[in-house]
């Protein structure tokens, strides 16, 4: 549904987006991750046709966004960053306008508004002015606007920004449900959301794609993938760590905590062995034979750590030294 080829945007001499290519099909929810200023919003603005690309192509449903914008835009629902809405209108007036501009009139318009209001829980504020709404309601009003015409493609720029935890949970659920039938791109810097809602994630940094895969695949890039954390009673921290360093394939052992005669350590496998974590965990278990183990846990890998190590390569190297 969405095909982005070699997309580039220059602001002056600064390359905000630098040769990005990817595609999103129906039934996919693509999480768009990256630090602030990485080019997420600029990319989304080019996909939705708000700003023209300096170079490269955006195709939505087969229509080129630059050459044939109107049919392409018809397929898209867009929630811009900060969820703008006309403050001088009521919620129902605003949604009515969104429906009309999407060509819905009469009964179809009423139905569309009703559906969007129900999905976004806006019944209580329907006749209230947008200006007087709380941030969460305003956000959902703009979200309702983006789904009013039941679009095939949804582009959501930080859809959960400014929502309380319950609302965040609702919106993630909504995205996941809608993702079964639509092609969705959403940006976020909350990594749990990637697990909660995405079928695939792209990490961009300084305008370039630095990682692209399912949340599981990304997690495997983590140093934590396959690592083993164990809590042992009655052995000194130094003894535990020197014993564990003898485990084959071990990369590093960290003492997390040592108190009340208990030691908690994390054992990391060499990066290339991360996939064979069962074997590594067994080896750690054998080394720990004879100790009083209170807890043993195999880590799955941490997205936040992958995110940090990919988007801040300089700092990550310093940590390794």
């Amino acid at each position: 549904m969405i095909r982005v080829e070699n997309l580039t945007k220059l602001f002056g001499t600064k390359r905000a987006v630098d040769g990005i290519s990817f595609s999103v099909e129906r039934g996919e929810v693509l999480g768009f991750l990256g630090p602030n200023g990485a080019g997420k919003s600029t990319t989304m603005r080019m996909i939705t046709g708000f700003i023209p690309p300096t170079d490269g192509k955006v195709k939505v449903g087969g229509f080129d966004m630059v050459e044939n914008p109107i049919p392409a835009k018809r397929l898209i629902g867009y929630l811009p960053e900060n969820a703008p809405a006309y403050t001088d209108m009521t919620v129902s007036g605003f949604l009515g306008f969104a429906a009309e501009i999407r060509g819905l009139r009469g009964e179809a318009k009423k139905k569309a508004i009703h559906r969007a209001v129900e999905m976004c829980f806006l019944e209580n504020v329907l006749h209230q002015s947008v200006e007087t709404l709380s941030k969460g309601y305003r956000h959902r009003t703009c979200f309702a606007q983006s789904i009013i015409h039941d679009p095939d493609v949804l582009v959501l720029d930080e859809p959960t920004d400014g929502l309380d935890p319950n609302q965040k949970h609702e919106v993630r659920g909504l995205i996941k449900r809608m993702g079964e039938k639509k092609a969705i791109i959403f940006s976020t810097h909350i990594l749990e959301e990637v697990d909660a809602a995405c079928s695939r994630a792209i990490i961009i940094d300084r305008g370039k794609i630095v990682a692209n895969g399912t949340p599981q695949e990304l997690r495997k890039k983590s140093e934590w993938a396959g690592a083993v954390t164990l809590r042992v009673k009655g052995v000194a921290g130094a003894a535990v760590s020197s014993k564990l360093y003898q485990v084959p394939l071990v990369n590093r052992v960290t003492v997390v905590e040592e108190k009340d005669g208990r030691v908690t350590v994390s054992v990391f496998p060499k990066p290339s062995e991360a996939g064979a974590n069962g074997e590594f965990a067994r080896a750690v278990g054998e080394a720990a034979h004879g100790w009083h183990i209170e807890q043993l846990q195999i880590e799955e890998g941490r997205l936040d750590e992958v995110f940090r190590s990919i988007t801040m390569p300089d700092t990550a190297q310093e940590v390794k030294k």
């Binding site: 835009k73 209108m89 060509g103």
Partner: protein
């Protein structure tokens, strides 16, 4: 074609709803009507003229519009940019010309409503005497076109900045230049410094000169073309400015 019309209509409707939701619309109408009444009867010498005409009423319009029309037009685009709603508007399946026209027609319709509400003056003059109603209708038409011309300029300056005050001031200045070109003093000045052609150029470009023709009861094709092309040019420039912002 029908979707084009539908889109323009949807934009215009939104603009008008937004307009009447705030007190701006009512304040504008009241101030406009008060000014018209006061200036016509107190300073325009409506009674002293002892003529059954609305000259004392219409002569002030270029000056009222100078401040009032930019006040209506200043928010058209600057507010969209400030609130970020422009990102919604321009990612909807409409062309930017449809958005520009929708906004322009909505504000123009509002100005025409304000103008139409001056009808008691017309009733008064008909009650007191028997004026040439052809001339009055003609002048109303001229006034409407002049309001549209000012509005298109306000629309253009509004697209330049996200600050309404800046948009207002710039458009007042541009409109002032367009008014002053037709003031006799300016012509005298250019004659005095031996550049009479510059004087006639300024007069030819002035809304005053073209509005005068309507006040005499003449609908000249050239005056229609003048106002039409002024509006067209300003709205076209609005489109260019909006595009340049997006290109970055």
């Amino acid at each position: 074609m029908s979707t084009t019309f539908g889109n323009i209509q949807a934009i215009a409707k939104r603009e008008l709803t937004g307009f009447f939701a705030s007190p701006v619309a009512y304040v504008f109408i009241v101030i406009f009507l008060l000014l018209c009444g006061a200036f016509t009867f107190l300073f325009g010498g409506f009674f002293e003229r002892d003529q059954a005409s609305l000259a004392a009423f219409f002569m002030w319009h270029p000056w009222f519009y100078l401040f009032l029309v930019p006040a209506v037009g200043m928010r058209l685009w600057s507010e969209e940019r400030r609130q970020g709603t422009i990102e919604l508007l321009l990612t909807m399946p409409i062309t930017s010309s449809q958005a520009i026209l929708g906004k322009f027609f909505a504000s123009w319709a509002f100005l025409l409503l304000a103008l139409a509400l001056t009808f008691p003056v017309w009733i008064t003059v008909n009650y007191l005497g028997s004026p040439d109603n052809g001339v009055i209708i003609c002048t109303y038409l001229g006034s409407a076109l002049m309001a549209g011309a000012y509005l298109s300029i306000a629309c253009m300056t509004s697209a330049m900045t996200r600050n309404q005050v800046v948009a207002f001031i710039v458009s007042v200045v541009i409109c002032l230049v367009l008014v002053l070109g037709g003031v006799p003093r300016v012509k005298e000045f250019f004659d005095a410094i031996n550049l009479p052609w510059l004087g006639s150029l300024a007069a030819g470009m002035s809304v005053m000169t073209h509005f005068d023709a309507f006040q005499r009861g003449v609908i000249d094709f050239r005056d229609l073309v003048f106002f039409g092309s002024l509006i067209g040019l300003a709205l076209f420039t609005t489109g260019v400015i909006l595009r340049s912002h997006r290109t970055g």
